[in-house]
Point group: C2
Chain length 409, copies 2
């Protein structure tokens, strides 16, 4: 599924695909983006310029694929190739080095990896065409030792190993890639955002909770203005603004009140939705929310938490979400619970995984976990998106993301 | 010095003064409040009601003294006295139990202490009139053992020991007394406060610093609205408000810009000033700031930090403040530095103590430290108030506190 969103280029992971001619670079790109047809109209060899393609790779999110088909090893010789390659390496966040399993390592691959190491640029080596030439674990270990990079075996043709490759991309992406914006990419400089922060017993004494603080900071970082009010003061707060706010962001528990007090032409969302996007892949999670609608009594649902926290009375994961889901489905469901970094081996038995918000893990870990679940063919939703859907507020909460709201139609 | 500010009663430490007739309760009150004349017009015995007096005790701040002269042991007998005493104990945060050094302990003191212990109410025993009856360290230890309370020996007449009593009051005040409001007592429900938060290299990545978060929370806790903007967006932010804000609070480093962009009829202060008040005693610190004006080249200045932090290049305490003070004084000063919980023994040699903001200690500790310095007859200022004065912005930054701004005239 390819999407051209308005994500600023700076936030997109730039993945450069290198490899000798016929290593299978183009088919790997198609495989990564789940495209069945060739994405490029330019005929290999007719241009010596790399092609930059903005795409969405689920669950990695928006990426720029830098297709170097025009400058592969025999397409250009000598200095011009080196120069064009260096230009690409400057812009890349991560390099996929594609090797035909039948061909093995040459001086081309070794030079490229050396160049990347000097630039501190992560490389994932992709051994392609394993449908034609089988690759043993020993072969992979040899590749890894010789090249000094992570190695993944795939068949771009059959899709075998592509999910593992996505996990490896997530795990090897540079740290800076974790620094997604929370809300800033949705704002113009000078925009006003109203944050609705209920003060109840759960609020930490004398503080705000971290997601609220991070959102304020992200708004300031993007030259916008944050207005913070309790739900009771929301209407007055909006009325007191000469220019209406660009967006209202509310704590989920105050959503209905915020919905009532936010003019229809003002975008409204929740901290949970912003953080589902910030921490993971909102599109996959919305897809997972839709899967709740297909659940039938008796279905197995796995509730997964990334960390082991002290369970409180009326715990969200063990009590509240199961209750709301039973009410939604209209019958009993078979819940299992897992916490920590490992999923059970029988993932495929579940009709849905409901994951915590991942407040204690970073985006990279959350995406890797989402990918693991998807790889088992199971839809996944997180607490925030699930609760929004169970309470009937998901569509309005997706108003800043109309292409995702449309998924609910 | 007695002041009647508009501090809500709830924020004031309520100190109940108990003791048998002639223990010296009234003279102790006068001594604590530095008053030379009797503060009460009611003649002892003419009323059986306790008298509530709102006062300012430096550096403790606003207090309510509950004067029980009308219900002391022989003024009322039996049940009525017990009933009136219980009424006072219900309202008190701390009890001063005054004993005439010549009289010693009776069943009256023991009953009262038992009653306070049942209510979890702190008691400080005051052995008064030590000018007439000397009290040895052994005597004090005996009192302490018998009563199970802290014991301070004073002469309300000469003032001896009264500074120690203030320290003991601070140290034994209930924990809840540390929960001063940062800004909420200056606001009405529905007020808007604009916070100016520069985002520079010193700002923690993706966060706000704690005083900013605490201020936002305190604004919400008082049903007001917090608007957070960088200094560059301040003018636009104020212009976008239909009702002008009640107050602008800025990071000190953006003060001049905030001053320029804040309409003259809007109060303006800094986080440093709010936290000097929240953490200590703003009046004493402003008094300390004035003392900078009297410094002469060659004077000794002690710079004190409550915690030992890693010194950075261009450190505020060792580099910047000394530089600004030398420039202000127009000559060399003798700086000493001390960090940690102990002051040097030669405190009285200093013309001024400049103390850190006390971010790592609580209000109670900060007040006790301020008191220690005052006890040595030395003025004390903190970093925030000192810097504001050295940069000529203290008067404007005191605009929410006109009685303190007037001290600079």
């Amino acid at each position: 599924m390819i999407k051209m969103h308005n994500t600023p280029r700076g936030n997109r992971l730039h993945i450069a695909i290198f490899g000798r001619r016929n290593a299978g670079k183009s088919s790997l790109i198609n495989s990564l983006t789940n495209q069945d047809i060739a994405v490029v109209s330019n005929i290999a060899g007719t241009t010596t310029d790399p092609v930059y393609k903005s795409m969405e790779i689920l669950p990695i999110g928006p990426v720029v694929i830098i297709d170097t088909a025009g400058i592969d090893d025999v397409g250009l010789l000598g200095e011009l190739r080196v120069e064009k390659s260096k230009e690409v390496l400057k812009k890349a966040d991560l390099v996929l080095l594609v090797i035909d399993a039948a061909e093995g390592i040459t001086i081309y691959e070794q030079d490229l990896i050396k160049e990347c190491q000097q630039r501190d640029l992560p490389v994932v080596t992709v051994i392609n065409k394993i449908d034609q030439n089988s690759v043993t674990d020993n072969d992979l270990a040899d590749y890894k030792n010789t090249l000094g990079t992570p190695v993944v075996a795939v068949s771009a043709l059959t899709g075998q190993g592509v999910a593992d490759l996505k996990i490896s991309i997530i795990q090897n992406a540079p740290k800076s890639w974790d620094d997604q914006t929370i809300i800033g990419d949705l704002l113009q400089p000078g925009d006003t955002v109203v944050l609705v922060v209920p003060i109840d017993l759960a609020a930490p004494k004398g503080r705000l909770i971290l997601p609220q603080v991070q959102t304020i900071r992200d708004i300031l970082d993007h030259d916008a203005i944050a207005v913070v009010a309790k739900e009771r003061e929301l209407k007055q707060t909006i009325d007191n603004l000469v220019c209406k706010p660009k967006m209202v962001v509310t704590d989920s528990q105050a959503f209905l009140k915020a919905d009532a007090d936010t003019p229809p032409d003002v975008l409204l969302t929740s901290f949970s939705i912003l953080f589902a996007r910030y921490k993971g892949d909102l599109e996959t999670l919305v897809d997972g929310a839709k899967a709740i609608e297909s659940l039938k009594p008796g279905d197995k649902v796995l509730i997964a938490e990334a960390c082991t926290h002290h369970r409180v009375e009326d715990d969200i994961g063990t009590v509240k979400i199961p209750r709301w889901m039973r009410q939604f489905v209209g019958g009993e469901l078979q819940f299992d619970w897992v916490s920590g970094t490992k999923f059970p081996h029988n993932l495929a038995e579940y009709k849905l995984v409901v994951h915590c918000g991942g407040c204690m893990i970073n985006r990279r870990e959350m995406l890797a976990r989402i990918m693991q679940v998807r790889q088992a063919g199971v839809p996944i939703v997180n607490y925030g998106v699930a609760i929004a859907h169970l309470h009937g507020i998901l569509r309005r909460a997706l108003s800043p993301f109309p292409h995702l709201a449309a998924m609910l139609d």
